[in-house]
């Protein structure tokens, strides 16, 4: 039995949460620097440059990258040997509350989506999910994500006989429809499989992956390339002002599903991709 105390979880999580809203992920920075070199639109190069400058100012002065410092999503991988003294969701909320106060980040959670939209004033609750895995470790993946790009995301229940082209077209269409509204250039997670409820969660979790990581299967590489070229052909560009680069990277993963279903979950992230992991 591995007992994890609240403090053991709180301390590194609090530190991470103080950092995430002011830190643009390094792999995203590299990706933007890279696409800037081959970008043919002068204006898009300027926009990409502003994003990089913003990241510098944010990191050095601890000012948030974006005023939407996000809802906090936490994906826990809990070893079967792990036990908690206190419900980890409570510890997580405490870390969010204190980090968002100390960092002067924006409270962005409503008490109830329909019955009472009063701001909870402390950015809680976090959205916590947990998976059980063998062993005695606790892995904590944290993503802070704004509302605009989540609003542009989608789940489509496609025909199980849909072709790769049909899937690519459907996914590209969601991303192109998001357009300037969700703050391109984008990073996108696509889950093909699972069920209506598990697919969106898995799609969002894909945003934790490094932008330089290879596709998981040759057929998925083809699909990712097809989606990327279709989206970039729209010429939406950074901020939607026109350019060659609208999609920095799309991650496609697959999973088992019902024989009648092909769930296609598309989770779009804006360019302010902010995430990190803790392993206890």
């Amino acid at each position: 039995m591995r007992k994890i105390s609240p403090q053991e979880l709180f301390d590194p999580l609090y530190t991470l949460l103080l950092d995430l809203p002011v830190t643009l992920r390094q792999d995203v920075i590299f990706s933007i620097q890279k696409v800037k070199e081959s970008e043919t639109s002068e204006r898009n190069r300027q926009m990409l440059d502003l994003i990089l400058q913003n990241a510098d100012v944010a990191a050095s002065e601890k000012i948030p990258l974006c005023q939407d410092t996000g809802a906090v999503s936490v994906f826990l991988e809990v070893g079967l040997d792990v036990s908690f003294e206190v419900d980890p969701a409570r510890t997580i909320d405490r870390a969010v509350r204190e980090a968002f106060s100390e960092g002067s980040f924006r409270p962005s959670i409503a008490r109830d989506a329909f019955l009472d939209r009063t701001n909870t004033a402390d950015n809680t609750p976090a959205f916590v999910s947990a998976k059980l895995v063998p062993g005695s470790s606790l892995k904590v993946d944290v993503l802070v994500k704004g509302g605009g790009c989540d609003n542009a995301s989608a789940i489509m229940m496609m025909r199980p006989t849909a072709s790769a082209t049909e899937v690519a077209d459907a996914v590209a269409k969601v991303i192109i429809n998001a357009g300037p509204n969700a703050c391109p250039p984008f990073v996108v997670g696509v889950m093909l499989g699972g069920s209506f409820d598990t697919a969106p969660s898995m799609a969002k979790k894909l945003l934790m992956r490094d932008l330089a990581s290879p596709a998981l299967h040759p057929a998925l590489k083809e699909l990712e390339d097809d989606i990327t070229s279709k989206v970039n052909a729209s010429h939406i560009g950074a901020g939607g002002f026109g350019g060659d680069n609208t999609l920095l990277r799309v991650f496609v993963e697959t999973a088992p599903s019902h024989i009648a279903s092909l769930p296609v979950a598309v989770n779009i992230s804006c360019h302010s991709l902010r995430s990190g992991s803790i392993i206890l």
């Binding site: 002011v22 926009m47 502003l50 994003i51 400058q53 913003n54 100012v57 944010a58 002065e61 000012i63 948030p64 990258l65 974006c66 005023q67 939407d68 410092t69 002067s104 980040f105 924006r106 409270p107 962005s108 939209r117 701001n119 004033a121 605009g148 609003n151 357009g179 300037p180 509204n181 969700a182 703050c183 052909a233 729209s234 010429h235 939406i236 560009g237 950074a238 901020g239 939607g240 002002f241 026109g242 804006c270 360019h271 302010s272």
Partner: protein, 180 residues
Amino acid sequence: MRELNLPLDRATVATLNAGDDVLISGKVFVARDQAHLRLVEMIKNGQELPVKLRNAVIFYAGPTPGRNGNSIGAIGPTTSSRMDPFTPALLEAGIIGMIGKGRRSPEVKEAIRKHGAVYFAALGGVAALYSKMVVSAKVVAFPDLGPEAIYEVEFKRMPCIVEIDTSGKSLYERTMRTER
């Protein structure tokens, strides 16, 4: 790159074209979802509004709290389309321009054209940079809304692009390539 000093007048606005780069200096009202809901409700009920809308520019944003003595922190545009249902009423009430990001509805484009107004797009996600252009900021209405309160914010040379001009032309529509 044109320097625009607020307040704007309709004659100046009529010379702006979709795609023009501008630097905006002066005071704007920062207001988003909940504030728009309240303002339009008050207009419908014939109540006096807490802010003067005639020739005002509204910036759709919800800033982070300030630190080190600043009244606000990071600030940048939020998605304008969520304010579309309320915009024709505010244009009717006299606002001259809006700053946000993302597409507007055909009804909003038409209302912009009808009232000789303008819609500017700012770049989303560079809120640390924009915070450096804030001269002053204060809450002027609905303080109970926290980050969704109406702020009056003075900017110095904030870069924006004309997205919809007074003729109703859109920059996004021009730059996007659709499959034929």
